[in-house]
């Protein structure tokens, strides 16, 4: 090393300065501060969801570490001798007993369990909502496709982290959850039984599943999540954040607040707010009162049990699938030369297909859209959901599909709460899971188109002021007020792609794929509302305004009122 640092010999004056200088000359801190100290972050309330996800994951790590100091994942048999009297002397696993000890004999243990469980629920929720935000605003487009995929993997890992943790206390409820997983695994053709035996170390429930899930839950899955979060944030820095279109915001700039001090303060303060809200919920609302369920036993089960919310849609799909439909059974005995094998489509199909559809479309979506639009330019400006009506419709269809299955996981509670037949609830949901997404698509796309028209209306004729005026000749009109140029620019500065018809390749041949793309393009963009052009605005002004002041004479009449 040449002594460039030693050459000029900067001499700090204060003690803090000396420490800072020591660190700076060892790690190159100045360059980092120069790069990030005033980096610009755009501000919008919808950009918070990712932060909520990140912060609830930090809280999960903190509370989870506390819990590991007291939790013992052993499935050895013991007799409970702790403070909770109703379970004293009952035979149970060490894992369940230590979960009870955390709840009843360790000060703050119950609180930490509550914080851990609530922040897990919030973590998956925040990841999901964040992904919906990214989808509906088109933030997955180039150059962010891979970060979108990382986000999808993080969503799957979040669900896996949640489920492995949910099973650890080894209470009756989580044991039944594991039993369902075992049943689903066994339905996998050829290897299912083997996977089940390898996972459980033999027959269900065995004595190894809790320690194995524990290692997955506290080591492997969090490490993967951390790694992917690091990649996710690294790519956010590389790409810089997206922003909504508006005055002064272009595809080539980022408008917002500098990291220091404003953004750091807002984002840093927000961590404490998320923590505070989770703590308040944990103080007031009991989650997973394992002492009410008792230790796992394969025989009893309580009615009205449900998984944590993020597993609900898969459980709901299991409930919706008919085992036998109009006399047609979905379990098949298939004769092979070596004997008969059993294929349980009534389990395999709902366990794999809905999740398969959702995640395949999710992962492929950036490429599907690029294929349809042939638009592979970088997109740093977001779409308002209304300005991409077909995408918005498809997103809503996905949400409806998910939510119907989610509701199905509560079909028994819906039936008991609303005093309706459980069977009817299931029949209705079976229909809804098919036609609900179609209705959702049509309605959402129509609403988006209608909102775009409303935007045009506002640009061309101004906003409604609510002032009703009677003209001298007796006509009542509402006075409209033109929007200022900033608001107007926000309403007109969006791309409205047009249908791209099929194009021939160099040989003059139109391929089948290209025809399909043209069809998709028509499906996406046939119904469209274009942004107002200056000429249209000019025309609207010069023609006098419908529903607005009709003539100069009348204008005078109004202002003199």
């Amino acid at each position: 090393m040449s002594s460039s640092a030693a050459g000029h010999q900067y001499q700090p004056k204060t003690n803090v300065g000396k420490i800072a200088n020591f660190v700076d000359t060892r790690v190159g801190g100045s360059a980092i501060v120069k790069e990030f100290g005033r980096k610009i972050f755009p501000d919008h309330w919808t950009f918070m969801f990712g932060e909520v996800a990140l912060y609830s994951f930090v809280i999960l790590l903190l509370s989870g570490t506390f819990l590991t100091f007291f939790f013992d994942p052993s499935m050895a048999e013991t007799h409970y001798e702790g403070s909770y009297v109703p379970l004293r002397g009952i035979e149970m696993s060490v894992a369940y007993a230590s979960s009870l000890d955390i709840s009843f004999d360790i000060r703050g243990g119950l609180f930490m369990r509550q914080v851990h469980h609530w922040s897990a629920l919030l973590f998956v929720a925040a990841v999901s909502v964040h992904m919906l935000r990214v989808f509906f605003t088109g933030a997955f487009r180039r150059p962010r496709e891979l970060n979108w995929v990382i986000g999808g993997v993080l969503l799957i890992l979040a669900m896996a982290a949640g489920f492995t943790g949910y099973s650890l206390p080894d209470d009756l409820l989580s044991g039944n959850g594991l039993r369902i997983i075992d049943g689903v695994i066994k339905s996998i053709p050829v290897v299912g039984t083997y996977i089940s035996f390898f996972l459980f170390g033999g027959e269900f429930p065995g004595t190894v599943i809790i320690p194995r899930l524990y290692v997955l839950h506290i080591l492997l899955i969090p490490a993967l999540i951390l790694l992917l979060i690091a990649m996710h944030l690294f790519l956010v820095v590389v790409h810089k954040h997206t922003q909504f279109p508006g005055p002064g915001r272009t595809n080539d700039n980022v408008v917002g607040y500098p990291v220091g001090p404003v953004y750091a303060a807002k984002a840093g303060g927000f961590f404490f707010i998320v923590f505070g809200i989770i703590a308040a919920i944990s103080a007031a609302f009991t989650i997973n009162p394992i002492w009410n369920y008792g230790p796992y036993d394969p025989s009893p089960v309580s009615a009205g049990t449900q998984p944590d919310w993020y597993i609900g849609w898969v459980d709901g799909a299991l409930r919706l699938m008919p085992g036998i439909l109009a006399g047609f059974p979905f379990e098949w005995e298939i004769p092979f030369p070596w004997g008969t094998n059993t294929l349980s489509l009534n389990v395999l199909f709902p366990a794999l297909v809905p999740a398969g559809i959702v995640f395949t479309l999710l992962f492929a979506w950036p490429w599907i859209e690029a294929w349809v639009t042939k638009d592979r330019r970088e997109k740093h400006l977001l779409d308002r959901p209304r300005n991409a009506p077909t995408r918005t419709g498809i997103g809503v269809a996905g949400v409806v599909f998910y939510c119907v299955m989610w509701a199905a996981a509560s079909s028994d509670l819906i039936a008991t709460h609303f005093m309706v037949s459980l069977n009817d609830v299931t029949y209705w949901l079976r229909v809804l899971v098919i036609i609900g997404p179609v209705i959702g698509f049509i309605v959402a796309r129509r609403i988006a188109l209608a909102l775009q028209r409303k935007d045009r209306e506002i640009v061309l004729h101004g906003r409604e002021t609510g002032r009703i005026v009677r003209l001298p000749h007796g006509e009542f009109i509402e006075v409209h007020e033109p929007v200022d140029e900033y608001k107007r620019y926000k309403l007109v500065s969006f791309d409205s792609p047009v249908t791209l018809s099929a194009e021939a390749d160099v040989n003059g041949h139109v391929s089948k794929g290209e025809k399909g793309r043209a069809w998709a393009s028509k499906f996406f963009f046939e119904d469209r509302v274009a942004p107002v052009t200056p000429a249209e605005l000019e025309e609207a002004h010069s023609h006098g305004h419908h529903g607005e002041v009709a003539s100069e004479h009348d204008k005078a009449a109004i202002s003199n009122k």
Binding site: L110, V190, A280, A284, H380
Partner: protein, 342 residues
């Protein structure tokens, strides 16, 4: 209403056609002028905001003290009330401590820190010059390593690398035993008494009145070495119906005893305990996924996601009047699996 400005797609005037849209666009007016906040112009508002932030930080201090109070002064005894109180105080204390800091900082940022929006340029993610340099570097690296020129090295390395993965898979072989036949066998056998779950006391046929149902385990289960694994297969529901309401198929007439029938309690869907017996309708309902089985039709599926009837346990009565099994189940119990029918 289809006036020329409503933007309806069928209206050719306002809706741009391909080639027409984007011809003319509004000029970007640039960032809107900064609007000063109250605290920017009024020193008293500034002072007030400063005090508010301070108060919020004091709230946090109060919250931390509340936490300590709950931790040190609420003793955990064997009452639930104290546990609840402590949990409430710890939670509220933490909530105040965190929200005080968080809301305080955000309030500080929003009222007192500069709120001028700043524009920063984006940079090309991959400048062409970098790409060219990188391509040359990678080319040089490959060239110097000689991997392209020496196929012997490349191919043997490839082979060695692929093969070296397999031990990492094989080493997990001992995660569990092979299934073998264990899923076909339960503790039930000829002469094994039906006993109550969980006490293990045997059941006389005369104890089982019409309309009643018993949760049943095989005799000796509580002393079994692998109790939970055995129980996960062997639990049975015992019901007595009037004999004429049962419709046994040929060969199964003697599987019950005077209207007493026993069915596996493990759902044939994914293995939950089918724990709910509807006495009036003789239906068995699984609370997990609502599969419903009709006991009068040999536990046939009449609703829900299960596809197979619950296996029936053939029972009889021994010399002392206790209910006993006459054999094991005739088919595997619980959820279906690939080798089930072999």
């Amino acid at each position: 209403m289809a006036d020329h400005s409503d933007g309806s797609p069928e209206n050719a005037v306002t809706v741009a056609k391909p080639g027409q849209g984007g011809v003319q666009k509004f000029q970007d007016p640039g960032l809107p002028p900064h609007r000063p906040r109250l605290a920017d112009v009024d020193p008293r508002a500034e002072k007030r905001a400063e005090r508010q932030v301070g108060v919020l930080f004091l709230v946090s201090i109060f919250g931390t003290l509340l936490f300590f109070f709950g931790y040190f002064f609420i003793p955990l005894d064997q009452t639930i009330a104290n546990l609840r109180l402590q949990n409430l105080l710890l939670g509220l204390g933490t909530a105040f401590a965190m929200l005080g800091i968080g809301v305080g900082i955000v309030h500080w940022a929003k009222t007192l820190m500069p709120d001028h929006e700043i524009a920063e340029d984006r940079h090309e993610i991959r400048p062409e010059a970098d790409r060219a340099d990188a391509e040359k570097i990678v080319g040089d690296i490959l060239e110097e390593s000689g991997i392209k020129r020496r196929p012997l090295i490349r191919n043997t390395l490839l082979g060695a690398g692929i093969l070296a993965i397999f031990p990492a898979i094989a080493i997990f072989r001992d995660l569990g035993p092979l299934p073998g036949d264990v899923l076909r066998q339960t503790m039930w056998d000829e002469g094994v008494r039906l006993t109550r779950d969980p006490s293990g006391t045997p059941i006389r046929a005369s104890d089982v009145t019409i309309g009643s149902a018993f949760h049943v385990i095989p005799e000796g289960l509580n002393e079994a070495e692998h109790k939970l694994e055995e129980k996960a297969k062997a639990v049975v529901l015992l019901m007595r119906l009037s004999p004429e309401s049962l419709n046994p198929s040929p060969g199964r007439e003697d599987w019950g005893y005077e209207g007493i029938v026993a069915y596996s309690k493990i759902c044939t869907h994914v293995g939950c305990p089918v724990a709910l017996y509807e006495q009036q309708t003789h239906h068995l309902l699984c609370p997990c996924h609502q599969s419903t089985f009709d006991v009068t039709q040999e536990a046939k599926v009449i609703f829900g996601p299960a596809a197979r009837p619950l296996p029936q346990l053939p029972i009889s009565v021994d010399d002392e009047g206790y209910l006993v099994a006459t054999s094991d189940f005739q088919e595997p119990v619980g959820p279906s699996y690939w080798e089930r029918g072999v």
